[in-house]
């Protein structure tokens, strides 16, 4: 039950971008701070992870493709982002940027 203490490699990072850099099809000159989760999750987080790791190592799961490792992913998202496009129409992005990261 080490929880997130063992996932020190998985951290929140941020980058300053133009909304157009997101490539979501919007035409606007507005900008944003995009936050994302980065890093590895090597140590087993839960007993489930440990069992899966052991079963894979001992070839008990045959040829099935199961990822024995957790992934560094958002566990919470940032507030919504609104912007005005070049045609004077507002858009709001939800769940577009990470707020917290974890090995899940």
């Amino acid at each position: 039950s080490g929880g997130r203490s063992r996932s020190r490699g998985c951290v929140l990072k941020e980058i300053h971008l133009n909304v157009t850099d997101l490539d979501l099809g919007y035409h606007t000159k507005e900008e944003l701070i995009f936050r994302y989760c980065s890093g590895s999750c090597n140590a087993p987080e839960t007993t489930y992870d440990l069992i899966l790791k052991n079963l894979t190592k001992n070839k008990k799961l045959g040829k099935e493709r199961v990822k024995p490792q957790a992934c560094c992913r958002p566990t919470a998202f940032d507030d919504n982002l609104s912007f005005l496009d070049d045609s004077l129409v507002y858009h709001t992005l939800t769940k577009h940027s990470a707020k917290k990261c974890g090995c899940v």
Partner: protein, 219 residues
């Protein structure tokens, strides 16, 4: 300062979205103000107004005024002034099917506690005075801008008119005023042709009145 091609209103929007507080409260009003609720209604106006009041209550003036009172130099007029006009999402917060008479609108404002007190503040703090250098009776631009922005989110919500110089008005006119035509015109002109308010907005936009950036909190 030199006239640049920079769109100040766009720069203010960029700055807002790079600030966590401004970004949060900006999208918190844009969502309700742009969400269609039925085929008949473009939005829930009550929710839009409430979120707009919150935006001006919670966001530091550096950011909220930055978008509302941004200056648009003659170069690149249209893109800049249109963006400034869109700040409050006028299609929901401002425009309506009918344009009521301004005096009737004033009566309905007075039935609401928030609107009544904010309209009174606006008339006190933006009172023009031609003999003063500032153009205001109370020589405090910050108080005038605070009272003006305080009207946003009430039935008296004002917005910029499409005109060559800075002119604002609530969504009403003086048709059907009858005997009260003169009184109505006076009411409208306090918005549309108010030297004190215009100077206050221009001083903020040009960055010539630094006291505006840190106004006194409302009592």
């Amino acid at each position: 300062p030199a006239v640049t091609k920079e769109n100040n209103c766009l720069n203010a929007a960029k700055a807002c979205n790079l600030n966590d507080t401004c970004k949060k409260y900006r999208s918190a009003y844009i969502s309700p103000c742009t969400s269609r609720v039925s085929t008949a209604e473009v939005c829930n106006k009550r929710k839009c107004h409430k979120a707009l009041r919150q935006f001006f209550d919670k966001v530091p003036p550096k950011h909220s005024y930055g978008m509302l009172f941004c200056s648009c130099p003659p170069v690149d007029q249209l893109a800049c002034t249109e963006r400034r006009r869109q700040t409050i999402v006028p299609v929901c917060s401002y425009e309506d099917k009918e344009k009521p008479n301004c005096l009737s609108l004033q009566v309905s404002c007075k039935t609401n506690y928030i609107c009544r007190s904010r309209l009174a503040d606006f008339f006190t703090n933006c009172q023009p005075e031609p003999r003063s250098l500032s153009g205001c009776l109370k020589e405090n631009y910050a108080d005038c801008l605070l009272s003006y922005s305080g009207l946003i989110g009430t039935v008296m919500t004002p917005n910029y008119l499409r005109s060559s110089q800075i002119s604002v008005s609530p969504w009403c006119d003086c048709s059907g005023s009858g005997n009260n035509k003169e009184e109505c015109d006076k009411f409208v002109e306090f918005f549309t042709n108010n030297t004190c308010l215009r100077n206050a907005i221009q001083a903020f936009g040009n960055g010539t009145d630094l006291s505006v950036w840190q106004p006194m909190p409302p009592v």
